[in-house]
């Protein structure tokens, strides 16, 4: 269970207000997408969730606890670029997190522990489709593969929250589509909370279970920096009850098929496809 609460969060730089009165309560296993025009403060909001920046007023709680004042391992992140380490191979990149956690001085496992971690990392790479490139360096990968790697690298630590800052912004449309599927599947499999910033509206509604639009409600033409942006609208893009009943149905179908003799089952006909969800406007 992971819940996120933003309690009257403001962000001001000297006399420039970027965000004001941001209030948000996010349930467990939501896919929150933040949309809004360029330069409005979407990324600032994400950075505050990451503790890369501190709110100037208000507080952010995860599971009722105020978040740490610096980035920590409970919040994973994938940026648009530079999310992977160019001096490590693909496998080395994925193995970094657990090695840092388990070997404080050397940052490196040896022997059985290393083999166990390698197996785990390879399984994850297999999942994101990078097993063939395990021993390449990130510079030898395409943009989409680098983002897959960044996802795997973050996921191996099983963060409570995964933060995505325009992760598909630099990808071509085909790659982007396959990344959408991957991210949605990973979100389902790991039952975690994802917060993603994008300015692609269709992407927002395709992936998000909840979509918030950030914009400035008030504008002073003489002093545009006087008012900040806040949550202008809040959509429940995929009804929780629909999602849960769908998951329940999938599970029931799986159990039912498991009971049927194996001869009549075709693994390709598993009813796991996502039905087009209707966007419901909450307010």
């Amino acid at each position: 269970m992971t819940t996120i609460i933003l309690d009257n969060v403001w962000k001001e730089y000297e006399d420039r207000v970027v965000l004001e009165r941001v209030n948000l309560a996010l349930d467990d296993h939501e896919f929150l997408v933040i949309i809004g025009p360029s330069g409005v403060g979407k990324t600032t909001l994400l950075r505050m969730l990451l503790s890369q920046e501190q709110p100037s007023r208000g507080r952010i709680l995860i599971d009722g606890e105020p978040i740490a004042a610096e980035p920590t391992a409970d919040r994973g992140v994938v940026f648009q670029r530079y999310s992977v380490f160019p001096h490590r191979t693909v496998l080395g990149n994925v193995m970094l997190g657990p090695q840092w956690a388990g070997a404080p001085v050397l940052g490196r496992f040896f022997g059985a522990r290393r083999r166990e971690l390698e197996a785990r990392a390879m399984a994850l790479l297999e999942r994101v489709g990078l097993a063939d490139s395990a021993h390449k360096y990130p510079a030898q990968l395409s943009g989409g593969m680098q983002q897959r790697l960044a996802l795997a690298q973050a996921l191996i630590l099983k963060p409570k929250v995964l933060l995505l800052d325009e992760p598909f912004g630099a990808l071509d449309p085909g790659t982007r589509r396959s990344m959408h599927e991957l991210v949605r599947d990973l979100w389902e499999e790991n039952a975690m909370t994802i917060v993603m910033v994008t300015h692609d509206l269709s992407e927002a509604f395709l992936l998000g279970t909840r979509v918030i639009a950030v914009d400035k409600p008030r504008r002073d033409p003489q002093a545009p920096e006087r008012f900040g942006a806040t949550i202008a609208s809040d959509f429940e893009a995929k009804c929780r009850i629909v999602r849960e009943s769908r998951r329940f149905e999938t599970e029931r179908e799986r159990v039912r098929l498991a009971l049927v003799p194996p001869a009549s089952t075709d693994p390709n006909s598993l009813p796991g496809d996502v039905s087009p969800a209707r966007a419901l406007v909450k307010d």
């Binding site: 990451l50 610096e70 980035p71 391992a73 840092w100 973050a154």
Partner: protein, 272 residues
Amino acid sequence: MRRIINYAPRAGGRVILAALPFVAVLAIYLIASNARLAVEPNDKLMPAFATFWATLTRLATTIDKATNQYLFWWDTWLSLQRLFLGLGISALAGLVLGILVGFIPYLRATFEPFFAAFSLIPPLAVLPILFILFGLGEVSKIVLIVFGIAPFIIRDVMLRVASLPAEQIIKAQTLGANTWQMIAGVVLPQVMPRLIDSVRLSLGAAWLFVIAAEAITAEGGLGYRIFLVRRYLAMDVILPYVAWITLLAFLMDYGLRRLAAAAYPWDRIKAA
């Protein structure tokens, strides 16, 4: 008729073109030397290549009575020792200080302006101070080299650390790395290729300081020998020594380049 920038030599032509200036210089020297020797067989300014060879063989294979050493190898050994010590200390200082100052904001705020000012002090101007403080022995020579090139290496490493994308550092923190792990696992490996490059660029300056220090006071060394035999117009020693220093510098540069390529293959992929 295409634009001149669109004419490029082929691979074979490239080698010939590259060799051309070297051959030309040698040829000009040979012609001028022969012309002078024809007029005055004892001419000291432009000795023949046979004279170079004879002098070099003498210096490399006979024991000098005053020092009881093979002078050529003795000079080479002394100069290289100074150079390597100076370069090594500078590289180590550059690496440690550059990373710490570049990576830790408080150290950076404190020391960056200081290093910037420090690097502007002309090292040769403080050479007398070094001689007064450390005496005329080896220490002052090595301190001179360090003084001359360490600030450059420190600043170069610092800039490299600062140019690491902020995203990488944030990502490392979300993977649970502490400051030491980030230095050892993220910053250091990415700084090393740049450090090697910066040592390569400092080679010229390091030789300059070695020779300058040896010219003033030493018991031996390549620079010392050159400045010593200058009194006798012994071009037959000076020119081979200059060529030998150039060859040593080239070999070091080449070795460092190969080392960087072998130890940090990912850096070359990025460049390609």
